[in-house]
C-alpha cells in the first residue's frame, strides 16, 4: 500500500482530479481514447469511493469486491482513479505508455495493484468476471464482481453468452455496468449495429436492469445496490464528458490533446 494522504472520499473531487490526470497523461503519452476515459471515469469514481469493497488494504482478501474494466482502452481512467485512491504511486501516471513503464495504453494487470485483468480486446471482461462470480458462488465466498463495459463492446457475442450463463446459475453477485455513451469506433452505436431495445435485451436474458445517469453519483450509487438477480446497470453517459469540445465526438476516440487543448480542458476542469 502507498501512503497517499490525499485519498478521496468525495466522488466529485476524485472524478475531477482523475479527469485532469486523464487529460495530462493522454497528452504526454500522445495516446488515444481520452473521450472513452472521460465517459467512464464517474462510474469508476463511484465504485472506488465505497460502492465496491476494494481498497489497497484488502487486495489479498478472497472476498473483496472485484472490479474489471473490460473496455481496456479507457485505461487512463482506471489508472488515474486507482492511483488517486492510493493503489500505486502517482508517478506511474507520468510514465504512462513509456518504455518499460508499468502502465500501458490498454489495461495492464501485471504488477499493477488493483487491476484484476489485462484487457484491450473487447468482450473478455464479462466471461472472466462471470467465472469469478461462479467460483465464488460454488465456494460460498462473498463479495461482488463488477464488470464495466462499453456499449459498443456489447456487439461481442460473449456478452450474450455470458448473460445466458449468469442467468442460468443466478449469479446475483455479478453486476455489469454499461457505459452507454452511444458512440463507438466509427459512429453512433445505433448507426453501427443497433443495440436498442437495449434494456429489454438484458431483461429478456433474465437480468435485473436499472437505468442510471452515468455522471450522477447518487443515481449511480442507488442503481448499484445489490439485487437478487444478475444486475445490469445501463449508465447513460456522454463520451468526452466534462470537456465541451471533446463531448460526443468520435474524433476524441483517437486524438491526443495538444498543449492548447490541455489548457482549454483544464480551464473547464475546476472545482465548482
Amino acid at each position: 500500500m502507498i501512503e497517499q494522504p490525499n485519498r478521496f472520499s468525495s466522488v466529485s473531487e476524485l472524478a475531477l482530479a482523475a479527469r485532469r490526470e486523464i487529460i495530462s497523461m493522454t497528452a504526454s503519452a500522445k495516446a488515444s481514447h481520452v473521450g472513452s476515459a472521460l465517459s467512464v471515469v464517474d462510474i469508476l469514481s463511484v465504485l472506488y469511493t465505497g460502492v465496491a469493497n476494494t481498497s489497497p488494504e484488502n487486495l489479498e482478501d478472497a472476498d473483496r469486491d472485484i472490479v474489471i474494466l473490460s473496455k481496456g482502452h479507457a485505461a487512463s481512467a482506471l489508472y488515474s482513479v486507482l492511483s488517486l485512491q492510493g493503489f500505486f504511486p502517482n508517478e506511474w501516471l507520468k510514465s504512462y505508455c513509456g518504455n518499460n513503464a508499468p502502465l500501458g495504453g490498454h489495461v495492464t494487470s501485471k504488477g499493477v495493484p488493483g487491476v484484476e485483468l489485462s484487457t484491450g480486446s473487447l468482450g473478455h471482461g464479462l466471461p472472466y468476471g462471470l467465472g469469478i462470480a461462479m467460483s465464488r458462488k460454488k465456494s460460498g465466498v462473498f463479495g461482488r464482481v463488477f464488470v464495466v463495459m462499453s456499449d459498443g463492446e456489447c456487439d461481442e457475442g460473449t456478452t450474450w453468452e455470458s448473460a445466458m450463463i449468469a442467468h442460468h446459475y443466478n449469479l446475483d453477485n455479478l453486476t455489469v455496468i454499461v457505459d452507454r455513451n452511444g458512440i463507438q469506433s466509427l459512429t453512433l452505436t445505433e448507426d453501427t449495429l443497433k443495440l436498442e431495445p437495449f434494456e429489454d435485451k438484458w431483461k429478456a436474458f433474465g437480468w435485473e436492469t436499472r437505468i442510471s445517469n452515468g455522471h450522477d453519483y447518487e443515481s449511480l450509487s442507488n442503481a448499484l445496490s445489490k439485487s437478487s438477480k444478475p444486475l445490469c446497470v445501463i449508465a447513460e453517459t456522454t463520451k468526452g464528458k466534462g470537456v465541451d469540445f471533446m463531448e460526443n465526438s468520435v474524433l476524441w476516440h483517437y486524438k491526443s490533446p495538444s498543449k492548447e487543448d490541455i489548457e482549454r480542458a483544464f480551464s473547464q476542469l475546476k472545482e465548482s
Binding site: 494487470s109 473478455h124 466471461p127 472472466y128 462471470l130 467465472g131 469469478i132 450463463i165
Partner: protein, 305 residues
C-alpha cells in the same frame, strides 16, 4: 484415452476440491461419473467456447485448477484469443483438453478433424503442450497436470486406442518414453498415431532393420539427452497426426537447430490433400500419408537400403 483421462481426473478431483471440470456440452457417457459424483466441481457451460474459456480463466483466478473439455478445434481454435489473453497472459491455471486428435472423428468430417491445433497452441507463449500416446500415458499426464498449476494444453485421442505401453508409466517433462529400443534409427511420435509407429518397427525388424520407437508426450520439453543420442545412432522419423506446418516434427527441427544437434530428421504428418474426403480414421490416416508403410519407406530411403 478420454476414459482414462476422465477416470484419472475423477480420482484426483476427489482428493482435491480445487479441481474444476468444465465441458462445452460434450462428453456424453464420458464425464457422467464425474458430474454425478462431484457436481460442485463440474460445470456444463453450454455451447459457447469463447465465454467458456474466459470463464474458466476467471474461475482459475480464484485459486482453482480448471480443466476445460471439448472436441478438437472447439476449445482451441474457436477461442484462441481467450486462451492467449485470459490464460497465457494472465498465467491462469487452466488445462485446455481437446478430445479427438487428428482424424479420430473420421467420417464426421473436416470440421471435427484436429490437424492444426498443435501449431496454433505452439505459437502461444506460456502454455505447455501435452500429447499422450495411449490410455496409460493419458492417465499419467492427467495426474501430473492435476498437480501442476501451469497453463496447459492436453491433446487426447478418442476411444479404444491400442495400448502401446504394457505397464503403467510415470512420465515427466523433459524425458521421452522409449517403448522399443533399436540400433539404426528412431521413430519419435506424439499421440495415438503411435500405433503405426509400432507397426512400422515390426515391419522394419522383419527386414532386418532395427529402430527405436519413442513417445514424446511433453512436447514443449524436448528430451535433449535422448535426441543427442538418437541423432548419433541414425535418422529420426517424427510421426504426428497433424499438419506438417508448425507441428511436432517442426518443433524437433527447431530444437535440434537451436541446440546444434546434428540430426537427420524426416517428418511424417497429415498431407491434407483433400479436406472434404470422407472415411473412417484408419482410411483418412492412410489417405493422408500416415501409415506404417510410409514410415518404413522413409527409413529405407534414409538408411540407403
Amino acid at each position: 484415452m478420454r476414459n482414462a483421462f476422465a477416470e484419472t481426473l475423477l480420482e484426483e478431483a476427489r482428493k482435491n476440491p480445487n479441481i474444476i471440470l468444465i465441458t462445452g456440452d460434450l462428453g456424453f457417457g464420458v464425464l457422467d461419473k464425474f458430474q454425478n459424483e462431484l457436481p460442485n466441481q463440474f460445470i456444463n457451460s453450454g455451447v459457447n467456447e469463447q465465454t467458456m474459456m474466459g470463464m474458466a480463466a476467471g474461475i482459475a483466478s480464484t485459486g482453482k485448477r480448471v480443466f476445460v473439455y471439448s472436441i478438437g478445434n472447439f476449445p482451441t481454435l474457436r477461442c484462441l484469443e481467450q486462451i492467449r489473453n485470459d490464460i497465457c497472459l494472465m498465467n491462469n491455471s487452466v488445462v485446455v483438453v481437446s478430445v479427438g486428435a487428428g482424424y479420430a472423428y473420421g467420417s464426421q468430417g473436416y470440421t471435427h478433424h484436429a490437424l492444426e491445433d498443435i501449431a496454433v497452441m505452439r505459437a502461444l507463449p506460456n502454455i505447455e503442450i501435452v500429447i499422450p500416446g495411449d490410455p496409460i500415458e493419458a492417465s499419467s499426464v492427467t495426474s501430473f497436470l492435476s498437480r501442476s498449476s501451469a497453463p496447459s494444453y492436453l491433446r487426447l485421442g478418442k476411444s479404444d486406442e491400442k495400448l502401446i505401453n504394457d505397464s503403467p508409466v510415470s512420465l515427466v517433462p523433459g524425458k521421452y518414453n522409449e517403448i522399443k529400443r533399436g540400433k539404426e534409427g528412431t521413430i519419435l511420435f506424439v499421440g495415438s498415431i503411435g500405433k503405426i509407429a509400432i507397426k512400422a518397427e515390426e515391419m522394419l525388424r522383419s527386414k532386418g532393420i532395427s529402430v527405436s520407437v519413442t513417445s514424446a508426450p511433453y512436447l514443449s520439453h524436448p528430451d535433449r539427452v535422448y535426441l543427442e543420442k538418437a541423432s548419433k545412432i541414425g535418422p529420426i522419423v517424427t510421426v504426428e497426426e497433424h499438419s506438417i506446418r508448425g507441428g511436432f516434427g517442426s518443433s524437433i527441427l527447431e530444437f535440434c537447430g537451436k541446440e546444434l544437434i546434428n540430426a537427420y530428421v524426416r517428418i511424417v504428418s497429415a498431407s491434407q490433400t483433400n479436406l472434404s474426403q470422407i472415411g473412417d480414421e484408419d482410411f483418412l490416416r492412410t489417405a493422408n500419408g500416415l501409415s506404417a508403410e510410409r514410415i518404413v519407406e522413409e527409413f529405407i530411403s534414409l538408411l540407403g537400403y
